[in-house]
């Protein structure tokens, strides 16, 4: 009886462990490849551990001017973009969380409508061009300045602050802004952490708007640099695999660049993920 009872959980544990492996192994493979020697990479014999360990490709990538420039752009976009986004989102979400805020319904409707009805790629391009923002990092920041979903998560966060707390502060003579900054803001820190993670990851990972709005090399963010690196090599050619790999000493270099490109996100995710779950739960239940 006892054995039978244990079969089900055992199956679940094995299944979940397999699932976690499926998520991790492709990444581990890439990391292993980035540390492996030329011959091992070319012969395709690297699995999940580096073969003929070397660091030259990292050395090469890290001494590449284009990589550094792209990294610099991405850091600027992510840090400045997230800061602006979080500030604007928090400011916009607070009034919307107050039931007595006149005009609340109308403003909410505008945000929802803008989320559901997309203005289109070409009109967005025209706006960017007319604002003289093409080929600047701002072209990649502006599209995500306020992400409606994050605004709603933030609004739900503020709605979770007990009204009695704000009320008592008001009775003590605190003005609207003091109530906001001294009472509400400290209580929604986990939600702020969550949307900061969302915004930062979004900015870091965004290549789409960079593809639309940026053609100048000096303004390209890291993801666009990586995209061009991946697609410039003849990885896709299938007819003559051997020849394709021969002109691919880049394969290891690509791997190294991709690893460097995802490292900050992984790092940031691991730090912020404990807030993430609480913040997301709030957002998704009441959404």
């Amino acid at each position: 009886m006892k054995i039978k009872y244990n079969i089900v959980p055992c199956f679940i544990y094995i299944f979940m462990a397999l699932l976690a492996l499926i998520c991790l192994l492709p990444i581990i493979h890439l990391v292993a490849k980035s540390f492996s020697g030329y011959n091992a990479v070319v012969s395709g014999s690297v699995a999940f551990l580096p073969k003929d360990f070397q660091l030259e490709v990292y050395d090469y990538v890290l001494h590449n001017g284009l990589f550094w420039n792209a990294l610099k752009n991405s850091l600027f976009i992510t840090i400045v973009g997230s800061f602006l986004s979080v500030t604007i989102t928090v400011l916009a979400a607070y009034p919307l969380s107050r039931k007595d805020f006149k005009g609340r319904k109308f403003i909410l409707l505008m945000y929802v409508f803008s989320m559901l009805f997309y203005g289109g790629t070409v009109p967005a391009y025209i706006v960017m061009q007319s604002l003289h923002l093409l080929n600047t990092v701002w072209a990649v920041i502006i599209p995500f300045l306020v992400v409606q979903f994050n605004l709603f998560v933030m609004k739900t966060g503020f709605e979770g602050v007990p009204e009695a707390l704000e009320e008592s502060a008001r009775i003590d003579g605190a003005g609207t802004f003091t109530v906001f900054s001294r009472i509400s803001l400290p209580l929604v820190t986990p939600t702020i952490a969550t949307i900061t993670l969302f915004y930062a990851v979004n900015y870091w990972n965004n290549y789409y708007h960079a593809m639309l709005f940026i053609t100048k090399q000096s303004a390209k963010p890291l993801q666009l640099y990586l995209y061009e690196l991946i697609n410039s090599a003849s990885m896709l050619s299938s007819e003559n695999a051997f020849e394709a790999t021969m002109n691919l000493p880049t394969s290891g270099m690509q791997a190294a660049a991709i690893v460097l490109g995802m490292l900050p996100v992984v790092f940031f995710y691991l730090i912020a993920q404990k807030y993430l779950i609480t913040g997301m739960t709030i957002g998704s239940v009441k959404g």
Binding site: T176, I230, L236, M280
Partner: protein, 313 residues
């Protein structure tokens, strides 16, 4: 009259006391108007013969371009290109829906059964991770894995099997799209279901256990019904977004060899709009997508609100 003055007085004092709230709303509203609403004016491009050099900048040119009526919609709907794109869009969305929609539900139910907290946390952390990687990175990861000299093909070869062309063979490409989408989003999609599961009253499970229901029965008769409304809501959301077959993903992963099976509305808009500068046609197609998408999501939401008492917003 008296009443009226009282009302204006009270709204005056309301503004005096709460002007800060309006001040706080301003940056968001400016953004909304400039970047979200202003492009709506740009949609008139679909009804105009765009002359790029008519004005000082593109916006000015847009205003000065002559009207063309529904010329570009005719071009769109009468041409064969559009129908192929629509077909690809629907097929890719449909595959993703059928193969990927049930997965997170099953996985969330299983995670919910894990009683070892540390193992549970660890699994969750790992399976959420791919969601945070960009499509560029993911395409890099899978191209490395699946290219003709990649480890998968090397393995196949050493087993005496034929190599498989995963990346540029039209027969396999949609499979690759579905698989990588699943790899990226399945774990993260569990979050919604897991949070809905925590809302189920534990007393229900205890009562069922006393009545002799085993683990599977409890899963089927308590957990699953408890999830039903969330499942339907997520399903509605997917159906509402059916015209977005995953543009971000396809744009980084496809190549001319697989255009025939993977070119969707948005990728085509990108290529003819910004690549060939055929602004009017691209806008017409974009307008079609926006309108149909809007109708779909509104219908899906009212359906969900009516039958499952859950709204997407």
């Amino acid at each position: 009259m008296n009443r009226r003055t009282l009302k204006t007085n009270s709204s005056k004092s309301y503004f005096r006391n709460n002007w800060v709230l309006y001040l706080m709303s301003i940056p968001g509203l400016i953004y909304l108007i400039v970047y979200k609403f202003f492009p709506y004016y740009g949609l008139t491009l679909a009804f105009k013969d765009f002359d790029m050099f008519a004005g000082r900048n593109l916006l000015d040119s847009l205003t000065k371009s002559p009207f063309a009526g529904i010329k570009y919609f005719k071009e769109l709907f009468l041409g064969s290109e559009f129908w192929l794109l629509l077909k690809n869009t629907l097929i890719i969305s449909f595959y993703k829906l059928v193969f990927l929609f049930p997965l997170p539900i099953v996985i969330a139910l299983l995670i919910n059964e894990i009683k070892t907290i540390s193992f549970k946390k660890c699994v969750q952390t790992i399976i959420y991770l791919p969601h945070f990687l960009s499509w560029v990175v993911i395409s890099g990861v899978f191209f490395t894995l699946l290219s003709s000299s990649g480890v998968v093909n090397t393995l196949l070869e050493s087993l005496g099997l034929d190599k498989i062309n995963f990346l540029s063979n039209p027969e396999n490409f949609r499979f690759l799209l579905v698989f990588t989408e699943g790899w990226k989003e399945t774990g993260w999609s569990c979050v919604v279901y897991l949070s809905a599961l925590t809302a189920i009253d534990p007393a229900l499970y205890e009562a069922a256990e006393i009545d002799g229901a085993n683990r599977l029965k409890r899963m089927l008769h308590i957990s699953l019904p408890g999830l039903l409304s969330v499942i339907m809501m997520m399903l509605m959301m997917k159906i509402g977004n059916i015209l977005q077959a995953g543009t971000d993903q396809i744009l980084v992963m496809y190549n001319p060899a697989v255009y025939s099976v993977s070119d969707v509305l948005q990728t085509y808009i990108y290529r003819i709009g910004l690549g060939q500068m055929n602004f009017s046609l691209a806008t017409a197609m974009g307008l079609f997508e926006s309108v149909v998408g809007f109708i779909l999501i509104i219908c899906a939401n009212s359906f969900s609100r009516k039958y499952f008492e859950r709204s997407l917003w």
